[in-house]
Amino acid sequence: MSLVVAAATSACGQEASRPETAGQGAAGERPVTFLAGQTLLTRDGAEIPLDRPAVGGLMGWLAPVGVPSPDNEDQLLYMSWRDLREVDAQLSYSDQGIANGDPLGRPSIRLLDKATGDDHLFADGAYSVAWGAPGIAYFAGSDPDYRANERYVGEILVAPTLDASGVSWTPNAPDSYVVMGWAGTTLIAYRVNRGEYLDVLAIDAPGQIRTLARLASVVAISPDGTRIAVHDTSDGGSKAKVINVPTGVEEAELDLAAEKGQMLQYLSYGGSWQGDYIASEAAPGIAVLKYTPGALEVSRVVPVPAAQAPMGVNEVTLLDGGGRVVAWAPLPGRGNSDRGGYLYINCTVGPGKCTRSPDFDSRTFFTVYNPSRPAKETP
């Protein structure tokens, strides 16, 4: 793959990419699989209905809302949510008679078999999944219901197979966790603190919990599962870092407040890592970083005009060995409404040219992906 290695200042001066429409290949093919509301949009153009809507709920898209099985992707674990009462988001709780402790909703994880269409409950009162060779890890609430003015706390369970019971990997440590992915046999997860600040945890076995990074979020796990790329704000600043998972040692750092990385301002979770390249949402649009042992640098910036994606892009996927990136963008609603639909963009990294999809008017939109590494080789 040929990428233009550019200094930060000249990369900032690149002409903004002008998206063309379509974004889809032959016969409705899509670059990746998406979840749009209550429909699975597959790469080959199929639209598979779900029994329940895909909703991030208490985790948003801190971890993937739809996780395909690691072997052949025929099965999908996806997050859903059931409202236990109507909640008007424009009103305060007190203005609509919601008292402390009132049950407001219940998260769940569902299992879809794409071949048969069977869609059933996998875990109730649970959300976030890591699915890899060591098994299926997920977060289960101590109380299945989310209640007003109560933190949703629980434990991380790991089951060796879909049909087996889960064993707690956070015994005697109930907290607010989000499971992210497997890095080899180590589980990567978040602990959610006050202010939505996240700690990145490495859990090697039941009860063996290490903190890899404080006040940070995981961009991606390396292809061999030995490292994670993170966005770290632990010292009050903004840094991209690569951390060795088994040792916890920081192996590379790029200060996003300094000249070399300043224009990026931040990176976000839901990125991807292929070969030496790491892609993430950043302030100008999509950032592609290059990691070599001991060094992390900005390789390319794919600008996404604010007019096209006023709220930025999310869940950036590297394809074609790093030559293409795909991401989805929410569209603003009217007035104080948060959502007016979605689109996705499909960009070639080198020329920085993007095509965009037609708009989707679903309530939710997410990329289906499995961040656990190493990934199983597809035959």
Binding site: R194, G236, N336, S337, D338
Partner: protein, 216 residues
């Protein structure tokens, strides 16, 4: 016999309908009552580092007066993006206020507000109004460009004023305070004083309805 078994196996449509309704009833929202006209924090979303935070409060003459300060929220403008987006629009109850909060990333004078669901169903949680100071309301500033318990002089952009980078947050509303790193006016002191003098003198965990309004 066959007919009786048939009735057991195949209930009437009316019975089915009744059963379906009994199983799927959810608690409806009661009619909404009016939120406050005065006596609350009001946050107007403009951009992540330069938005308006007001205290609307009755003065000693019973007139609702407004005091306005610059404030920030989030790192992106997507209110559904946990850990990055600015706060979702709407009214929030206040769940507590402390002068000496000692958290893992938030300290000192803070206001704790209710969780809020965004348009895609994502819940924003653990939300506060706060600044950057120590639990005992002082500053811990070093030569680093960004200290978590210091309102740093770092600018949010190359052409921006000093002391603006700290307006960025994970979503919380942030207010500037005086700091040894600059000679700017602090806003946290007057905000805090106005709140206590004119709105509420409560500290600790408590519930106060409709105390923050976030909007464009």
């Amino acid at each position: 016999m066959t007919n009786n078994r048939a009735r057991l196996l195949w209930p009437s449509r009316l019975t089915l309908t009744t059963l379906f309704m009994a199983v799927t009833v959810t608690v409806p929202a009661p009619p909404a009552s009016a939120s406050r006209d005065c006596g609350y924090l009001d946050f107007t979303r403009i951009n992540n580092t330069n938005s308006d935070l007001k205290v609307k409060a009755y003065d000693t003459l019973g007139v609702c007066v407004t005091s306005t300060w610059r404030a920030g929220s989030g790192t992106t403008t997507d209110p559904c993006q946990k850990n990055y987006g600015w706060l979702p629009a709407g009214w929030y109850d206040l769940w507590g206020h402390w002068n000496d909060y000692n958290g893992s990333a938030i300290w000192g004078r803070v206001w704790y507000v209710q969780d809020k669901q965004c348009g895609d169903g994502t819940w924003r949680t653990e939300l506060f109004v706060h600044s950057e100071e120590t639990p005992n309301r002082t500053q811990d500033c070093t030569s680093n460009s960004d200290d978590p318990q210091c309102w740093d002089k770092t600018a949010s952009c190359s052409s921006c004023n000093e002391g603006t980078n700290d307006y960025y947050s994970n979503g919380c509303i942030k207010v500037k305070r005086q700091s040894p790193e600059g000679s700017w006016d602090g806003h946290l002191d007057p905000l805090h004083d106005t709140w206590h003098n004119l709105v509420s003198s409560n500290h600790g965990s408590f519930s106060r309805g409709s105390s923050l309004h976030v909007h464009n």
